[in-house]
Symmetry: C2
Subunit: 293 residues, 2 copies
């Protein structure tokens, strides 16, 4: 059985690493804040002092951190994983970063004869807890197949979507689709509230038709109640849209709804709602309609 | 069995009236262009000379026309249904019009001791053909229950959502949600196309997660192929958004995505794409990204 190293034990990473350990993989973990490793260590995981030390005792290294600079730091920074990783190792990056970050990481690791798969996940903290994440893999087929059994402990749909970077591109597409779907549902819910309708019943009636979506079924209740427990943080979706909008600029694609969504999210973050679930987009639509906050 | 009169035999109405007749209801039909009635008459329906004549020989009168002025004309215009309708009759309006139109029609008919139910439908021509429409009913409970068996021949989900006008309000909410969902999917598909991804595979991968929607599952293929067979006409969604945006203005609700969608639809209509399925919204996003038309 491959020895797995897991770098990044945030809300997502900690849950995902737990599933890897639960499946019986020998697990070493590292996190910037070492205390986050306590429960995994109590369950039998080893804790490394540095990413380099983790890499030295791992065959497959999973990374799950916040943003491009974090990925670069834990891989190529001082005492980064690239310093310790052995020939024939594999890095699987579950962070959401730019496709270009994935491609340059893959190149840096290839020079050390180490494989790379970008494997960003979708499904939020709920999906991480329940091991029902959707995972989009970019990389060489052999590397993706090697990563698959480890990823299968964390997710239920693992799709190889193309070469390195393609996983990140698909994740960006996902976040763009979410922008429109969430805003459409938020606008509809606020119109329904102000129309005096029984909105929960409306949601049920519309769920059988063309307006049906995961967001309508699973997030409209929060918009009606105006309470937004996690879920998936506004601040993370805003970060992911920054990636998507940068890609769009480079590719010459105009995304007005994604751009509007990012702008609303900037306002939410400025008003200290950045740590709420992204269904909090409805806060702003509600506010514009003078509904109580 | 109640005698049914059906006014308005467009793409939607002709299919819906066919289901009513198929269920064994004695059926009389009327359409502004009489030739549209031919196949229903061949199947045994009677054809009336005027809405008033139709009303005189019907217990339940179903209306399915394009817009508020059409509803007012066939009900209260010269030789309109209100002239012929008998005490205790019921008008069921399946058109999509403003909630205020529904309320004034109900008032005008109540003076003649005739009931009224607004029962706009969702599901497009496909839903009309297959009798799988979703129908939102506004009206007095007794009137809605009387309408229900007739509506049940045309649709699979029939929900009583409140007093007269509430059905139209729910339909408006539906169209607002569709605006965001279609635009989100269109933006995502165009970003995926320009990223060089296998877009059909992307759709499948995303369909298991938070981006899942009826639109993604059923309309993304048209956006990829850039071909938009009906479906549900751009021009009709634009008309429905006019109703929703007017409601929003009256209620003090700001709907930026619905407004953006209406603007894109105005462009599509001006460029002779108004008769295509509303997934043709992707034409404009594709065009902005210099994808071939």
């Amino acid at each position: 059985m491959e020895r797995v190293g897991f770098i990044g034990l945030g809300t997502m990473g900690a849950a995902m690493a737990g599933h890897v350990a639960g499946a019986g993989y020998p697990l070493t973990v590292w996190n910037r804040t070492p205390g986050r490793a306590a429960s995994l260590v109590a369950a039998g995981a080893r804790q490394a002092e540095t990413p380099a030390a983790l890499a030295a005792e791992s065959d497959v290294i999973v990374v799950c951190v916040s943003d491009s600079p974090d990925v670069e730091e834990v891989l190529f920074g001082p005492a980064g994983a690239a310093e310790g990783v052995r020939d024939g190792g594999l890095v699987v990056d579950c962070s959401t970063v730019a496709p270009s970050t994935a491609r340059s990481a893959a190149q840096g690791l290839a020079e050390r004869r180490v494989g790379f798969v970008d494997a960003p996940v979708s499904g939020g903290s709920e999906g991480a807890q329940k091991a029902t994440l959707t995972i989009f893999c970019g990389g060489d087929p052999a590397d993706v197949e090697r990563a698959r059994p480890v990823l299968a402990t964390m997710g239920k749909t693992i799709t190889h979507v193309g070469p390195v970077g393609a996983g990140q591109a698909v994740k960006a597409v996902n976040q763009v689709i979410l922008a429109g779907t969430y805003l459409g549902v938020a606008e509809g819910i606020v119109l329904a509230l102000k129309s005096g309708l029984d909105v929960a019943q409306v949601v049920e009636a519309l769920g059988g038709g063309a307006a049906q979506s995961w967001v309508l079924a699973n997030r409209s209740g929060r918009m009606i109640d105006n309470e937004y427990p996690l879920g998936f943080k506004v601040a993370l979706h805003r970060k992911d849209l920054r990636i998507a909008l940068t890609m769009a600029s480079e590719l010459g694609v105009v995304l007005p709804v994604a751009k509007l969504c990012a702008g609303i999210e900037v306002d939410l973050i400025a008003n200290e709602h950045g740590d709420e679930d992204m269904s909090a987009l409805a806060r702003v639509i509600r506010g514009w309609a003078d509904l109580p906050d």
